[in-house]
């Protein structure tokens, strides 16, 4: 018997985001929401374990508004057994500290876990903080940037990616691991899975609010967040440069003499 929990997040596809050239604000309309890419690798690894280990059980957990059930359904259609949405107005506006407080409370309620998987980071915030913070609150070890995974006897052996190579790390369970895209190639939803999950009126996910978990109200949401956003703005772009025109040879000459006179080359 092995119980696996996978933490996933629904994110806007940031590669599709555009800035309104007039107002300078972010255009969110029409931007698709997706399962965060690293989280998909995390889920895939859990499903790979389920494929090979007898009696393995995969629970996916997310926090977000009600539309986040979409990524839970996707996870179920890929092969997860159980899906839980943490959704409550009181959870809103949380930074990573308060988010990990909320999610770890939910994990304690699920209980009895051997491995918790999460993506390395989400593409909307890129913080890579919530995974390690959950591990800290559960008082379990963590390995981040996992690019290879196996179970040996009753221990987990993973490769942790570093900037100039990798480490092979042995760790006991329970453990929290964060996945990077090199870990695996996520599967698609299965036809059967889609049929089971997306049928009209089907209730396949559970929703938990603040009353369903044991958490201090001062530790969650905006109120429980030590960091605050003071302001947001669009990145400054430098002033307009000079356009070089003419045939290729003229341009090349012109460019090189400019660079030389500025002592760049």
């Amino acid at each position: 018997m092995m119980n696996i929990i996978v933490c996933i997040k629904q994110v806007p596809d940031t590669t599709e985001l555009k800035i309104d050239p007039v107002t300078g604000t972010l255009i969110r309309k029409g931007v698709p929401s997706i399962m965060n890419p690293d989280d998909k690798n995390a889920l895939e690894q859990a499903l790979l374990i389920k494929d090979t280990v007898e009696n393995a059980n995969v629970t996916v957990l997310t926090m977000g508004p009600s539309q986040a059930t979409e990524v839970l359904k996707e996870a179920l259609a890929m092969g997860a057994d159980r899906a839980i949405l943490l959704s409550d107005r009181k959870f809103g506006g949380a930074d990573t500290w308060a988010t990990s407080e909320t999610i770890s409370a939910a994990i304690k309620k699920i209980g009895n876990y051997d491995i918790i998987f999460a993506g390395r980071q989400a593409i909307d915030g890129d913080t890579a903080q919530v995974g390690p913070q959950i591990a800290e609150r559960l008082n379990i070890p963590q390995v981040t940037y996992v690019k290879n995974f196996k179970i040996e006897n009753d221990k987990v052996v993973v490769e942790r990616s570093l900037e100039d190579g990798y480490e092979v790390i042995e760790v006991q369970m329970p453990v929290l691991l964060t996945a990077i895209k090199e870990l695996n190639e996520p599967r698609y939803m299965s036809i059967n899975g889609i049929f089971k999950v997306f049928g009209e009126g089907k209730e396949v996910t559970e929703t938990w609010g603040v009353d369903d978990i044991e958490v201090n109200l001062d530790h969650i949401g905006l109120k429980g967040s030590p960091t605050q956003v003071k302001k947001t703005f669009t990145p400054e772009v430098r002033s307009k440069g000079e356009m070089l025109e003419g045939d290729a040879n003229t341009i090349a000459k012109n460019l090189l003499s400019n660079l030389k006179s500025r002592h760049i080359i």
Binding site: T14, I123, Q129, P141, P226, V229, I264
Partner: protein
């Protein structure tokens, strides 16, 4: 959440001095440079936190790069980074000395360690800051970072908790000049480490040389994107890079297409660079890319599409086929 105790005086700017194999990471020296600027504004000291084995030489190096104090924990169990033990030692140091600000390089190790510490000492943490300032009015740290893939910038504060913690990506801040006549203090930190503290065991460490090309150190970068078209296109760019004494850079789509190794990638998910010269060929300039190269001293853009966003950051813009232009430049340089 539990508020930081107002009766404690929090002072000094701390920098995590990350070492691997007995060598300090550049980002730690860069953070000392930035930490010094912040500390001066606060009338505080900039301090380095160094964990490992045989630390004398590295401690002196940190002082030469501007550290007023180096807090040292020298123990054979700290030779290599492990989450559990490093977190334990550093949180003990924080609780003993109460720093005001704590800066950590956003390396794979820093990003593993920082969130764990922030959760244990109950304070906020801002990831991957690109700018740090002190608020003139309340002396709090203003931490600016990109969000939504670099599409917007956000300034974050941590008003009621200490230390104010931030990670900063390598290459973003500037080192001080090394000065061997600097004077600083080295303070040994004693702690009892139990082997049970280490829950992870490093079986082996593998170095991969091919990822060692350090585009962050290069003065000249010739970079290519989707518009380069294929692997062979990068061969041409390599010729130009060699001629100029530079290295190759790349956009994410060039890397995703398999034309060039990820170690060359510039941008939000790659590396942040600030060379003297950045020549962008066939790169449209997604904001994620621009976030990683806009601090180059001089940017040359060659692109077929005159509306490509990257022209906005160009010092010299050229609308045209990169092959033609690069070949013409090579011809002149070869004369």
């Amino acid at each position: 959440m539990p508020k930081t105790d107002n009766n404690i005086e929090y002072k000094n700017v701390w920098v995590f001095a990350e070492q691997r194999d007995g060598k300090l990471m550049d980002v730690s020296l860069e953070l000392l440079g930035e930490g010094k600027i912040l500390a001066d504004k606060l009338n505080q000291k900039v301090c380095a936190v160094l964990l490992g084995e045989n630390l004398q030489e590295m401690s002196e190096e940190l002082i030469a790069y501007g550290a007023d104090i180096v807090y040292v924990c020298d123990d054979k169990n700290l030779k290599n980074y492990t989450t559990d033990v490093y977190t334990k030692v550093i949180t003990s140091m924080i609780n003993a000395y109460n720093p005001d600000i704590f800066l950590i390089g956003a390396t794979h190790i820093g990003r593993d360690l920082a969130p764990r510490i922030s959760a244990r000492v109950n304070t906020g943490l801002t990831a991957d800051c690109t700018n740090l300032e002190i608020d003139e009015t309340d002396k709090k740290l203003l931490q600016t970072r990109p969000a939504f893939g670099g599409n917007i910038m956000a300034t974050i504060i941590c008003p009621n908790h200490k230390p104010q913690m931030a990670t900063v990506r390598p290459g973003v801040m500037e080192k001080n000049k090394k000065n061997d006549s600097n004077i600083g203090e080295i303070i040994d930190f004693e702690i009892n480490l139990e082997l049970e503290d280490i829950k992870t065991k490093i079986l082996k460490t593998v170095k991969e040389k091919k990822n060692n090309i350090d585009i962050q150190q290069a003065e000249i970068i010739v970079a290519g994107g989707r518009g380069v078209g294929n692997k062979e296109g990068f061969d041409l760019l390599k010729k130009l890079a060699d001629k100029l004494g530079g290295v190759l850079g790349a956009s994410r789509s060039a890397v995703d297409n398999g034309w060039i190794d990820h170690s060359h990638q510039v941008g939000q998910t790659g590396k942040t660079v600030r060379p003297k010269l950045y020549i962008a060929c066939g790169i449209s300039g997604a904001i994620q890319h621009i976030a990683g190269m806009q601090d180059a001293e001089c940017v040359v853009v060659i692109n077929k599409n005159k509306n490509a966003p990257i022209f906005k950051v160009a010092d010299y813009g050229i609308v045209g086929d990169y092959k033609e232009i690069v070949n013409s430049i090579l011809k002149i340089l070869e004369k």
